[in-house]
Each structure stands twice: as structure tokens, then as C-alpha cells.
């Protein structure tokens, strides 16, 4: 069975909510939309206090080419444009909307009927995706229209759909495949049309046999789409790891990007969002979110409107367990501990994980014993112990030379470390500093 070549770990899967069908979550009382839900420039508000909006009304437009528009997920009145504490713990500008009723824009096709045919040109498709504010739904939130516009000199050869969901606990993509396989496949077809290729692969990890079977069965009716079962290994959902696993090509070090080896990688949730945007004129304003945790009464998958506070999802899944140690936005490997539960659901929120006291506790770091487990685990072939030590001492030249910018922050090093060394903490710091130095150097040129 296929998988990526270098490194990787296998954390306990804990897919508690895999058997739970997607439920539609009730509307929130107030929806909050941070203006910076994606990589790139923050969106610019186009509404003001007191404006009446419907579901699907554009409330902020893209602030540049690498940026995405934001659409209201609720109908009601704009309460204020202020700041909210987002998942990072810092205050970010956001639009607050008080919910009244549930009135949708007329242009949105609300029927559940499958629309297979798409005769738009690639430019029209990319334009529609851009106008629907679609971003990568895997977590990085890179604007999709940018990925579908290859830079000059690059040509796409295939589309790879990321249905790996290698993060433990999360099941949102798994459920989406089981419940909307046809929509996803039509979405993949549209993506192939947009980048003018005739081949697409859907990479699914082997721990989802039901999804592999169903997708294989359905994909037979769609020419050029192949389902590729993959061996379970973290971080297979990383873009570069997935390309290596599926088509056996390795993306060179930054600034190279996947398109340099002819691959366009999109998340399975993004394919679904693209289907809805192009075929149903429905902008991106809701997504499937997994709410899970060992002590949680009822781990579930919710179809959630953007802007809903995470506390509402936790409440719907049985309430906050007493032994909660940390609330994580995302999965346990790459997710972030939240400062409070009022953080709104954004385009990239794939899950809410409630860790109990025991799971959440970090063991005290011990001295490095030079076992090199982190080196074998690193999927990018780096030396994490070295990057961490040099970052801790502020040797930015050295860490840049040691390719710190190639780090994908998957956390495999810290996961395998028998001494519980906080390597990723320091590597993230070093990456931030070196990134700043590189930007300053480029600006000088």
C-alpha cells in the first residue's frame, strides 16, 4: 500500500465520531466573522452597523489577490464591527451580526438535487470560486482561486484530493465522503476542468474502508478520477507528503510549491465547497465540524454556520465535561489550545477537541539523550533537535541554513521524543523569526 517515504508517526486514531451522521446545528443568537479567516490579506468589510443582511450576503470582500471574501451565514442585522479574541488568543477585527429568522439570498439553489453538468470555461469557474470566498478547508485556509491559477511557467498535470484526514479524532471529511460522495466527485470534476487536466486522484487512508469502498464505486461513473487507498501514517495529510504518497514526486524545498511538480492539491471539503459554489451558487458559509473528546458525552459531526461560538457546539454535544484540561481548535497534533470557548467557527475550523486533564498535561522536559527519534520521525527530513536548540539560542543564520522554513509544524518530533522536549515550540519561534528576516531581505532587493 502506498504512503510517503520519509519519517512519519502513528498516533492513536481515536476516531470516536466516525459512526455519527452529520447533524445540522441550530442557528446561533449572534454570529461573529473575523476578517482574517484565511492566509493572506484580511478581508475588507462592505457592510456597516445597522445593515440588514441575508444568508449568503457578502459582508467583506477580498483585501488583495491572496485573500478571500466573507459571506454572512445568517440573516439579521449588523450589530457592530469590533474586535474578537480568535483562536490565536489575540484580538482581531470582526463583524458581529444579530440573528433574525433564516432568510436566504434568492440566487442560492437550495434544492438537494445533484447538478452534474458544468459547461463553464476554466476562467469562469475560477471566478465563481473566488466570488464564493472558497478557501482550503483542511485548516491552512489558503484561498482556492490562487491555487487554481498556476504561476507562469508552471503547468498542472493532475489534481490530488486530500481525503486522508490523518489527524486523530477528526471525522468531518470522512462523514462528508459517506454522505455526499456524488457532490464531491462533481466538485473534483470541476477542479479538473479549472486547471485543464484529465486525471485526479483521491487519497484516502486505509482506516476508512467504508469511504474507500463507496468512493471507488461512485468514481467508476466519473472518467479520470481514481481512488488511492493509503497506509495510515501521520502527517499524510500534509500537501507535500500526500503528493509523494500518491504520485511519488517530491516537492523541492521552499520557495518551490506543489505546482512545480505538476500537482494541485485540494481538500475533500474544498471539493464539496467548490461544487456548492459553482453548481448551486452557494458561497462558503457553513462547514462540517467534528466535536469530540474522550470524556465528552456525545461526540458528533455538526453542519455548522460560520460565526457560531464553539461553546454552542460543545453544548450540543453534551456539554463541557468536568475533567476538561484543554479545549483544542482542530486536531490534537496540529490544533491550538483555545483561550476561551467563545471563539467563533471559521472557514478552517475542522474540529473542536476536548482533552481531559490527563491527556492535556505536558510532561516535564528531560535532557536530550541523542536517540535521534525525532530525526527519523521528521517527514521533511530535517533535524528537529538541532533546529530547536539553535532557535532557543537565537542562532537564526544557522537555523535558516538548516532549512527551518521547510518545517511543516506537524509535531511528529515532539510526539516521538522520549524526553518530552518542547521542540516544536522553539522551531515555531525560529520559523517566525527567519520568515521575518527573509521578508526583510526580499523587501530590500
Amino acid at each position: 500500500m502506498k504512503t510517503f517515504r520519509i519519517g512519519g508517526v502513528h498516533p492513536a486514531e481515536n476516531k470516536l465520531s466516525a459512526g455519527k451522521a452529520i447533524e445540522t446545528l441550530a442557528l446561533p443568537k449572534q454570529a461573529v466573522f473575523p476578517l482574517s479567516q484565511h492566509i493572506g490579506a484580511p478581508a475588507v468589510p462592505v457592510v456597516k452597523k445597522g445593515d440588514v443582511v441575508k444568508v449568503g450576503t457578502k459582508i467583506a470582500e477580498a483585501g488583495g489577490f491572496v485573500s478571500a471574501a466573507i459571506f454572512s451565514s445568517v440573516s439579521g442585522k449588523v450589530n457592530k464591527i469590533d474586535s474578537v479574541i480568535d483562536a490565536s488568543g489575540y484580538r482581531k477585527p470582526a463583524i458581529f451580526i444579530d440573528v433574525e429568522g433564516d432568510e436566504w439570498e434568492e440566487s442560492i439553489d437550495r434544492s438537494t438535487e445533484l447538478v452534474k453538468e458544468c459547461s463553464l470555461t476554466p476562467e469562469e469557474i475560477v471566478g465563481k470560486i473566488k466570488n464564493a470566498g472558497v478557501v482550503g478547508m483542511g485548516g491552512a485556509c489558503f484561498p482556492t482561486h490562487v491555487k487554481l491559477t498556476p504561476p507562469p511557467g508552471c503547468r498542472a498535470e493532475c489534481v490530488i484530493i486530500n481525503a486522508v484526514e490523518c489527524e486523530p479524532y477528526l471525522t468531518a471529511d470522512h462523514r462528508l465522503m459517506l454522505e455526499h460522495p456524488d457532490e464531491i466527485l462533481v466538485g473534483v470534476g470541476i477542479l479538473m476542468r479549472a486547471v485543464k487536466v484529465s486525471k485526479a486522484y483521491i487519497g484516502i487512508e486505509n482506516n476508512k474502508p467504508d469511504a474507500i469502498r463507496l468512493m471507488k464505486e461512485k468514481a467508476a461513473a466519473y472518467p479520470g478520477i481514481e481512488v488511492v487507498p493509503l497506509k495510515v501514517k501521520y502527517p499524510q495529510g500534509g500537501e507535500k507528503q500526500l503528493i509523494d504518497a500518491v504520485i511519488g514526486r517530491q516537492v523541492p524545498a521552499p520557495p518551490a510549491i506543489p505546482i512545480n511538480v505538476g500537482a494541485v492539491v485540494q481538500n475533500v471539503g474544498t471539493a464539496f465547497a467548490v461544487y456548492e459554489a459553482v453548481q448551486k451558487n452557494k458561497p462558503l458559509f457553513e462547514r462540517v465540524v467534528t466535536v469530540t473528546g474522550k470524556s465528552l458525552k456525545n461526540p458528533s459531526n455538526f453542519l455548522t454556520r460560520m460565526g457560531t461560538p464553539m461553546s454552542q457546539l460543545i453544548e450540543a454535544a453534551g456539554g463541557l465535561p468536568e475533567d476538561t484540561g484543554k479545549v483544542i481548535g482542530g486536531g490534537p497534533m496540529m490544533g491550538k489550545a483555545l483561550a476561551n470557548t467563545e471563539v467563533p467557527i471559521c472557514k478552517g475550523s475542522s474540529g473542536v477537541l476536548l482533552m481531559n486533564d490527563k491527556e492535556a498535561r505536558r510532561s516535564a522536559p528531560q535532557p536530550c539523550i541523542r536517540c535521534a527519534k525525532c530525526v527519523s520521525a521528521c517527514p521533511m527530513g530535517l533535524e528537529p533537535y538541532l533546529l530547536a536548540t539553535c532557535s532557543a539560542h537565537g542562532d537564526w543564520e544557522r537555523v535558516e541554513h538548516e532549512m527551518i522554513m521547510s518545517c511543516i509544524e506537524c509535531g511528529s518530533c515532539q510526539f516521538t521524543c522520549p524526553s518530552h522536549r518542547p521542540m516544536l515550540d522553539y522551531i515555531r519561534l525560529g520559523k517566525g523569526k527567519v520568515g521575518g528576516i527573509i521578508r526583510a531581505r526580499n523587501a530590500k532587493k
Binding site: 484580538r91 518542547p422 515550540d425
Partner: protein, 293 residues
């Protein structure tokens, strides 16, 4: 015996030849260095802290000799006496400089600024700052992991376990600026010591709106602007909901300190204020109510 003799003679010969080569090379390829650079460097404190803006003491000495004037050059560790020594060596005149000190512009003590989350990552301010907003509601204030303490070479800054904030030991602080550079939130400012070591400054860096700032910390600057209005010397500016006192214009009249509703402006090393005529009356009132009760 013969063997030993051969070894001694051959090694001796190699040594002699090498010595001649080295002697010739040192004469022929000698680089002239102003001898005054060494003299100046010897007069400096050899802390190599970089507080002067040059790479170490010898770098500073070379710059002093090369520039031919001491204007704008100051060794913050040695201060005026050392600069006068340097001036004597170079036959120049030392420019008068103002002694400076590091001030911590945050008063978010455990009592003033309640903790809302708990950080269990690496005990480093730089890491904590790049990870999230901090343990309190204030995303501008001190993180309390002590990067400034680690950075200080002079043992002049220490964490106070009671307040959770760093405190500067004025007698040891040389104003080299290492702590200021180490602080990821730019809380520590290098300020002139002021006349008789007395200075007034805003002990807060929170740029949030007043309501948000006050909720996070009871001693936060809320940007009300009362201090700006009361200042007779136009020394205070208000930008992004935060007041700043320009040390060059401030005459230490302390009117702003009295006016600040949050107690965010502090005046240090001043003698205690003389009680005002109406103060006893104000004190008498609560006493009365106690008596009634």
C-alpha cells in the same frame, strides 16, 4: 645515542627555520593598527554587552578612534567617567550625556490583572508571545517568563514572585538595552534617569480600547486623555488609546499622576507629597461613619 642526536638536531633545525619564516612574515605583512584602539578598549568596562550599538568593546573603541569625535558615542555601562577617560586618551572632548535606566512599562500584577488561562509551554516570553495572547486578558502586557532577566548581564533585573513582574535594580542597571531587546512585547523602555533620579512615566503599553483594557487590567491606560489636557508642557501624546510621556519635555510636575483615574502613571523617587488642606477632612468623614455604626 645517535638516534636522539639526529632527532634533536632535525627538530631544532625545523624550529629555527620556522622561526625565521614567522619573523620575516610578521614584519613584511604587518598591518598597522592605531595603538590608541587598544588603549581605549582597555579603558572600557569589557562587558561586551553591545549597549553602545557596536559589536563589543573593541568595536566601540575602533569606532571612537576612527570618528575623531565623541559626539553621540556613549558607553552606557561606564557612563560619563569612562567616556572622560576615553576622551583623555584621544585628546578629544567628551560630550555631556544623560544617564539612563530601564523602566518596565507594565503594572499588570497578579492583583491588577487576573489570570484567565494557564500557559504550560516553554518558559520563554518569545515562545509564549508567538504562541498566543498570554495568560491574562491583556495581549500587550508582561508575559512573566523572564526573558529580560536571562538577557541581563549585570544582575540588574529580577522577577518579583509576588507581582509576577520584573523589577529593575537602579543601582545596577547600566541601560545597555539588552532587556529591552529581549522583550517580545517592547514593554521595557530605556529612559533618562531624570533630575535627582526622579521620573514620571506611563506604566502601561495596552493599545486596546478603554473598555477592553480596563476589563483585562485594573491599572491599564484607557486612553481617556485627561493627562494630555492637564499637562502644562505638552509632553504627553495619546496614540492608539495609549498615553506616552516624552522625557525630553516632561518637567516632573506630577500633575498627570494626580489626574490619571487608573493610576497608570507613576512617579518614582519623589518624596512623599505634603498632605493637602482638604485631605484631613476627607479622612475624617469615613471615621465618622465608623463611629456611627
Amino acid at each position: 645515542m645517535n638516534l636522539i642526536l639526529v632527532a634533536v638536531i632535525s627538530l631544532g633545525a625545523i624550529g629555527l627555520v620556522s622561526a625565521i619564516i614567522l619573523y620575516v612574515a610578521s614584519k613584511k605583512f604587518a598591518v598597522y593598527e592605531d595603538p590608541r584602539i587598544g588603549e581605549v578598549a582597555a579603558a572600557l568596562p569589557q562587558a561586551n554587552c553591545g549597549g553602545c550599538g557596536y559589536p563589543g568593546c573593541s568595536g566601540f573603541a575602533a569606532a571612537c578612534v576612527k570618528a575623531g569625535s565623541l559626539e553621540g558615542k556613549l558607553c552606557p555601562v561606564g557612563g560619563q567617567p569612562v567616556m572622560e577617560k576615553v576622551a583623555a586618551i584621544l585628546g578629544l572632548e567628551a560630550t555631556a550625556s544623560e544617564p539612563k535606566v530601564a523602566v518596565v512599562r507594565c503594572n499588570g500584577t497578579c492583583a491588577n490583572r487576573p489570570r484567565v488561562t494557564q500557559y504550560d509551554g516553554v518558559r520563554s516570553c518569545a515562545v509564549a508571545n508567538s504562541t498566543y495572547g498570554g495568560e491574562t486578558g491583556c495581549t500587550f502586557g508582561c508575559l512573566g517568563c523572564g526573558d529580560c532577566v536571562t538577557a541581563c548581564q549585570f544582575d540588574a533585573i529580577h522577577m518579583n514572585p509576588e507581582t509576577g513582574l520584573p523589577e529593575v535594580d537602579e543601582s545596577k542597571c547600566t541601560a545597555c538595552g539588552a532587556c529591552s531587546k529581549a522583550c517580545p512585547r517592547n514593554i521595557i523602555e530605556i529612559r533618562p534617569k531624570g533630575k535627582n533620579n526622579r521620573r514620571v512615566y506611563v506604566q502601561c503599553v495596552n493599545k486596546d480600547k478603554g473598555v477592553v483594557a480596563r476589563k483585562a487590567c485594573t491599572s491599564a491606560c484607557i486612553g481617556c486623555g485627561k493627562c494630555v489636557k492637564v499637562c502644562p508642557f505638552e509632553a504627553i501624546t495619546l496614540e492608539n488609546n495609549l498615553a506616552y510621556i516624552d522625557p525630553a519635555k516632561c518637567k516632573s510636575c506630577r500633575k498627570c499622576e494626580m489626574e490619571c483615574p487608573q493610576g497608570a502613571i507613576v512617579a518614582v523617587n519623589f518624596p512623599p507629597r505634603k498632605p493637602k488642606p482638604e485631605a484631613p477632612a476627607a479622612e475624617a468623614k469615613p471615621a465618622q461613619t465608623v463611629a456611627e455604626a
